[in-house]
Point group: C2
Chain length 215, copies 2
Amino acid sequence: MLTPNATEIAKNIPELTERQSEVLESALALLVDGGEKALTTAKIASASNCSKESLYKWFGDRDGLISAMMAFQGSKVGAAVGQEDLGSAKAFKDYLVRFACELLSVLAGDTSLALNRLAIGQASNEASPLGPLLIENGRGVIEAKAVGFLNSAAEKNYLSFDDARQTYHVLYGLIVRDAHVRLLLGERRELVMKNFERDAQTAIAQFYKLYGVEE
Amino acid sequence: MLTPNATEIAKNIPELTERQSEVLESALALLVDGGEKALTTAKIASASNCSKESLYKWFGDRDGLISAMMAFQGSKVGAAVGQEDLGSAKAFKDYLVRFACELLSVLAGDTSLALNRLAIGQASNEASPLGPLLIENGRGVIEAKAVGFLNSAAEKNYLSFDDARQTYHVLYGLIVRDAHVRLLLGERRELVMKNFERDAQTAIAQFYKLYGVEE
DNA sequence: CATTAAGGGTACCGTACGGTACGGTACAGG
DNA sequence: CCTGTACCGTACCGTACGGTACCCTTAATG
């Protein structure tokens, strides 16, 4: 349902006016509390004090605007993962725990949940670009970083594995389990994540039991 | 958005006419290829050769019909998990591999994906009962069964752990990883699950490395 | 045969939404 | 001052959908 023009616009995120960013921001806010149902062009326009005509001029159509929202949010994620510390085996393990915590808090964030719900809701439409866009902008960025520090850790002989990507997927599974889907389904956050820090630590401990190098 | 009457109807699934089951079946088919957008009352009526008036008489309103679809599908899941075999340590481990395979194929099934997408799409609406309903009818059933055989395995000293529920969540994480969400987002099934059987085996092997009892 | 209940087909209504058009305003450049 | 541009606000249009009402057929019962 996406015109070629709209996808093109969505790709050229760099060229975003201050005004346009404001609009996307308030559209995100609208989505976060209200879901897709609340994300009508009229509401977006009134919430951001801009005319519907401008919306269509800037983003092509509703799908283009939603794509722009995804890309816009994705562009803010990159720097949020923190700097790794491979100074010592202990330091790296601590970093992994921090990584786990941040991963959980990102996935449990309101904006992340809202965008994932939106993309998943449209995923049955084969032509919808939202799913791939989300995978690339969210998941892909984090995975790339993780593969990076896993390989570094293997070089320093903190860990031992064959394929960094597969190993990351195991790490992801140990950390996230079914929490993400349950949150997406609307289960209360306090119920899904009763003890944030402790879960992260046990996940990393288990990860080391699988891939750690004995000293 | 659900009238008390509708939820009540949705609960009384046992009393389903043959005719009504047919309608729910064709509604599920409609949902599977077409997504929520294709699930209009008019299309359901015409696809199952029944009148809209009957739909509203039987299910109250659209939400009630969708709830009935969930419960209906859930009522068919229970028996699908197969019978466990705890005859020997080896047999139990083989059973775990089969369990992993079945879990993956259930989650990757078209109907499961469609219903999960539907529930997740509505989950931002705090009042929507679909999320809990899906958790109870799908996840809950499997989890209960898993907790059962994990405890049995612990009694027979095949495994060693503190809490069966938490242990099951780890097992789930090792088996599923991020595959479910990626499928929900629309990633091609062949891409997400390149090697079904092998992944299940390594997952179980890792699970034993964490919770297995040394011989 | 007459009566009644269940249910299919269809027309209809109100509403909400995506998208467009148009008038009004502020401002920049000549 | 005149002109063009960008944009806001709003009215408007077509359509699609949820939900309701009405008419018809079928079949079971007396």
